[in-house]
Amino acid sequence: MTRYATIFLFLAFLAVPLAARAGEADDLQRQIDYLKQTTNDLERQDDQKTVNTDITFMRSWLDNAWTLRSQEKYEEVRIVLDRCNAQANMVRQRLVAAKLAAQVVAKENEVKRARSQLARTKKALEKAKLEKARLEGKV
């Protein structure tokens, strides 16, 4: 009985790390999938194609992570995934910045248009004053 228990414990001792590694691989797999989904979402949001290169890099990094996971280089996978997470956050902020930049352009164009409209209105006012003066002289 003691001998069987010892064997069992030995086998259990061997199985625990194996199970832990399998769980880590799955976890990394989920992370990779999540980040790939994130990449797709970010690409959809990038209607101005401002972060195209960053997304391309991210995809290649994720491919690399996948390869490393296949090679069971989990530590390296985590490093790459950390980078990908940071990249994703950076891309989000760049997208926001790009949108804001577009808003700036739109706003400044609006200001330009308003200035132009104001200039036209002032010109029309001057013209109207001249016309009024002419009519006052006539009447």
Binding site: R83, L100, Q103, A114, L118, L125, K132
Partner: protein
């Protein structure tokens, strides 16, 4: 020789040592530091970005992380761990760019706020200017309307002036026509007036001329030649007046004579109705007369000079006739006549006395004395044969003679 050998050896030794030094250096350097990763170069370039100072203020944690990553990358590179160096360099780049993105966001937000402020100011000014413009346009509209009304008023005034002028011209024409008509009427009246004095008869030349000129004036009037018509009418009037003036004396004289003649006719007719008397009309020169002959036997007894009793009745109707107002202007002669027998002076006295008696009787009956005169002619004017008794009786008479021209 020895020196040359020594020099050659020295030179060779020196060259050898130089070559060895170079080889050693190359090996040392080549083995000590591997080529710098591109990612590290890029990170260093990123760190030199002028915009990073703003990013450091905005996201100091990220920048610190990036700085650490840069240091780690450099360290790993220098330790020949290129994989780690690249990894750190990439992370550093990501942190820097993340920080730069946040700084860019802030900058964009600031620019948006600035643009919005500017827009608000511009919009406010635009509203004010637009309001001014609208006011001006409204005033222009009103002025245009006023100008249009002014033009319409001017046009209306011009139309009214034209109408007034046309009316005045029409009135002037009508007045001229009316005046001309009046003048022609005046000329016609003058010609009618001339007719009243029978100018055609008494001033034929002038009357004819006036008629012709009047006809001419009427023709000119019909032809619309008012001024000529007025002139002609004036001449016609003047000519007609001249004709009337010329005809008037003759007409009045003839008219008066005619009136007297008619009156005398009437008197004669009335006298014929007197009882017991003889009435005749005769002409002596320019004078005409109606003679009422009363036989002496009707008034006197024999050769008396007073009217016999009851015989004065015959004088009553004569007196009434002479008193009538229409005959009051006729002068009256009371003439006594006798026959031719006896002395003439005696007959003359008898006839004069009898004439006076009748005169007195007529005065008594109301005939004005100043109209009458008496005369005794004796037997000088017999009306019958004095050789017969009837003739002599007829010659004894008193004649009441009414004279007229």
């Amino acid at each position: 020789m020895k020196t040359a050998e020594t020099g050659r050896i020295a030179m060779s030794t020196m060259l050898r040592s130089c070559f060895l030094s170079l080889l050693v250096t190359t090996l040392v350097v080549g083995c000590a530091t591997p080529p710098k990763p591109r990612e590290l170069d890029a990170l260093e370039e990123l760190r030199a970005d002028p915009g990073l100072s703003a990013a450091r203020k905005r996201a100091p944690d990220l920048c610190k992380k990036a700085d650490k990553a840069l240091a780690a990358a450099t360290d790993k590179w220098q330790s020949n761990d290129l994989g780690e160096s690249v990894n750190h360099a990439l992370l550093g780049q990501i942190f820097y760019r993340h920080a730069l993105a946040l700084a860019d966001q802030d900058k964009s937000n600031a620019r948006i706020a600035e643009a919005e402020d500017a827009l608000a100011v511009i919009e406010e000014e635009q509203k004010a200017v637009q309001k001014d413009l609208d006011d001006e346009k409204e005033k222009i509209g009103l002025l245009n309307k006023a100008a249009q009304q002014s033009e319409e008023m001017k046009s209306l005034a011009a139309q009214m002036a034209a109408d007034k002028k046309a009316n005045e011209e029409k009135l002037a024409q009508e007045k001229l026509r009316a005046d001309t008509g009046d003048r022609i009427a005046d000329a016609e009246l003058a010609l009618k007036t001339a007719d009243t004095v029978d100018a055609e008869k008494y001033a034929p030349e002038l009357y004819k001329s006036a008629s012709q000129i009047l006809a001419k004036a009427q023709a000119e009037f019909q032809a619309g030649q008012m001024e000529q018509a007025q002139a002609s009418a004036g001449i016609a009037k003047k000519t007609a007046q001249d004709a009337a003036a010329a005809a008037k004396p003759s007409y009045e004289r003839d008219a008066a004579a005619e009136a007297i003649r008619k009156k005398a006719d009437a008197f004669h007719a009335d006298a014929l109705r007197l009882p017991g008397v003889n009435v005749r009309r005769d002409i002596k020169g320019s004078l005409q007369r109606v003679v009422i002959s009363v036989p002496a036997t009707l008034l006197f007894i024999k050769r008396q000079t007073v009217i016999g009793a009851g015989k004065d009745m015959v004088l009553n109707p004569i007196g009434e006739l002479l008193k009538k107002p229409e005959y009051a202007s006729f002068p009256v002669q009371v003439i006594g006549h006798t026959d031719s027998r006896g002395r003439a002076s005696s007959n003359l006295a008898l006839s004069a006395a009898r004439a006076q008696t009748v005169y007195n009787a007529l005065v008594t009956r109301g005939v004005e004395a100043r109209r009458m005169m008496t005369n005794g002619q004796g037997g000088a004017d017999p009306i019958a044969d004095g050789r017969t008794a009837a003739g002599r009786a007829a010659n004894h008479r008193v004649e009441i003679v009414v004279l007229y021209q």
